[in-house]
């Protein structure tokens, strides 16, 4: 709980700064969070590469790793279709396409905007960005109540980059390989699934 509160505070503070404090345009446009992510991934890599348990996990790797992206796809589509009942303005097909972004908001919002227009594209952007943020904010609680695969599943396509550090921190470094694999499979599936659903 303390971890989640700390994570939420840093994020909320950032939103307030970005919204209400005037920042020079160059700072916003260069997207420093991307550079922070690069350094972060280098640091996560060092932790993972030096960890004996990870090397053990790599040896024990087998077909069961496929169960993770598969469960994300099934869970995402069931959950999104059930919850789409609460959104009368959207068709089931549209809700499913938005959910098929699996958190990969840049690509999914561009694709959906091109196929179905800017309003749906914007919803896709907000929805997939919020999937990433929900994962970052609640990862410690997810591990506690749903097991160590939980933040990987919640992160979806982002489990290989933006949510990877928080996954290795709370699930353990031995879950890094599963997280990267899961993110990679889902990322590659995003463009196919979205076009398949909407066309």
């Amino acid at each position: 709980m303390k971890n989640s509160l700390l994570i939420i505070s840093f994020f909320a503070l950032g939103v307030l700064i970005g919204r209400f404090i005037f920042l020079p345009k160059t700072i916003i446009q260069t997207d420093i969070s991307l550079y922070a992510l690069y350094i972060l991934l280098l640091l996560v890599g060092i932790g993972v590469g030096s960890d004996a348990k990870t090397r053990q996990a790599l040896k024990n790797l087998n077909i069961r790793i496929l169960s993770v992206p598969l469960s994300v796809i099934i869970g995402t589509f069931i959950g999104a279709s059930l919850f789409s009942i609460f959104i009368p303005g959207l068709r089931l097909k549209e809700s499913l396409a938005i959910a098929a972004g699996f958190g990969y908001y840049s690509l999914s919002s561009i694709l959906i905007a091109q196929i179905s227009g800017n309003v749906l594209g914007t919803i896709a952007l907000l929805s997939n960005l919020s999937r990433e943020i929900i994962t970052l904010l609640f990862a410690p609680l997810m591990v506690k109540y749903f097991g160590k695969i939980a933040p990987i599943a919640s992160g979806g396509a982002t489990s290989m980059d933006t949510t990877l550090p928080i996954i290795t921190k709370f699930s353990g470094k031995e879950y890094a390989i599963i997280a990267v694999f899961n993110g990679l499979v889902l990322t590659l599936l995003v463009p196919f699934l979205i076009t398949l659903i909407l066309k």
């Binding site: 700064i17 469960s71 907000l126 929805s127």
Partner: protein, 94 residues
Amino acid sequence: MIVVFGFLIAGILAGFLLRRKQKLIQLADRLTTWFIYLFLLLLGISVGANQIIMNNFAKLGGQAIIISIGAVIGSLIVANLVYLLVFKKKENEE
């Protein structure tokens, strides 16, 4: 995406080569935690400064969040089953 993997793989190689230097590894672990907080702060800033997100949030944010909450809850439940059936069982066997 290639850049992301480049940094990650460079880190893994460095970590593997430095695995006997306990002090350095511990420092990297502590720095990771602080960079997670820094990353969240910066992500918050880019969300707060993004006009498209801020201007449309009142109108479309509710629908967007309902879909993502549904997707997350569905994924958590199925992942929990997979964890109990596939991963935890395996951990206990070892």
